[in-house]
Amino acid sequence: MLVLTRKPNESIMIGEDVEVSIVEVKGDQVKLGISAPKNVKVHRKEIFLAIQRENIDASKPVIDKIGEMGGIFKKKKVN
C-alpha cells in the first residue's frame, strides 16, 4: 500500500480525474473532499461491508421459518 503524508488543503490525484483532498483535520477525524467523475462510485467502506455481510446472511434463509411470521408473510392482497 502506498502511504502518503498530506497536510490540510493538500490533495492527491488518483489517475487523471480523481482528486482526494484533505479538507480538515480535527482530533481523530479527517474530513476528505473527493472530486471524481460521476461513474466512479465513492462509498464509506463500512456501508459496503455491511451490505455484503447482510447479503451473505440473506443468502441462507431459514425457509421453514418464513411461514411462522404473521402479517405480511401471510397471503394477503397488496395494494
Binding site: S59, K65, M69, G70
Partner: protein, 153 residues
C-alpha cells in the same frame, strides 16, 4: 419455457421473461449474474433464484408493504447504468434476511435491488437515504405502521 432447479420449489418451469441479468452481480456475489425472479407460493414476496446455483436464492419484498412512507432514493447514475430512463420502467425490492428466530426477519433498505422492467437488467444499489439500514425488522416496522394508522384516525 425452460426448467431450472430452485431452492424453494425444486425443479420448476420458468419463462425467459423471468430471467434477470445483474451485470455487476449482487454485492458479495459479484460473479453470479443470472437469476430468475419467481413469485412466492406462500405470500407477497418473491424469490431471486440463481440460475446456475440451485442452493443460492434470495427473498425479495416490496418494502412499501411493511414500511410506512418508504421512498426509494437512488443516484441518477445507478438508474442510468441499467438503462432506466423513466421510473415507470423501474421495479425495486429489498432483500429479506430470514434467521432462525422469525421475530428477527428483516429487510435491507440500505442496499435495494432495482430492475429495468424492459431489459430485465438489474443492480444492487446503495440507498441515498441515510435513515435506512441493512436491518429493518419487519415485525417492528409493521407494528409501528399499524400504530400510525390508529393515531391518524
Amino acid at each position: 419455457m425452460m426448467k431450472i432447479k430452485t431452492k424453494p420449489y425444486g425443479e420448476i418451469e420458468v419463462n425467459e421473461k423471468q430471467r434477470i441479468f445483474f451485470p455487476d452481480g449482487i454485492i458479495g456475489f459479484e460473479g453470479i449474474q443470472y437469476y430468475f425472479l419467481l413469485d412466492s407460493r406462500e405470500g407477497p414476496y418473491y424469490w431471486l433464484q440463481a440460475e446456475k446455483y440451485p442452493e443460492l436464492a434470495f427473498i425479495l419484498i416490496n418494502p412499501r408493504i411493511f414500511k410506512e412512507g418508504y421512498k426509494l432514493m437512488v443516484r441518477e447514475e445507478d438508474y442510468k447504468s441499467i438503462g432506466i430512463e423513466e421510473m415507470n420502467n423501474c421495479l425495486d425490492f429489498a432483500i429479506v434476511t430470514v434467521p432462525e428466530d422469525p421475530k428477527r426477519i428483516s429487510a435491507n433498505l440500505m442496499g435495494p435491488i432495482i430492475i429495468n422492467k424492459k431489459t430485465r437488467k438489474a443492480k444492487q444499489v446503495i440507498s441515498e437515504n441515510d435513515e435506512y439500514t441493512v436491518k429493518h425488522y419487519i415485525i417492528d416496522e409493521e407494528k409501528s405502521r399499524k400504530e400510525d394508522l390508529v393515531e391518524s384516525r
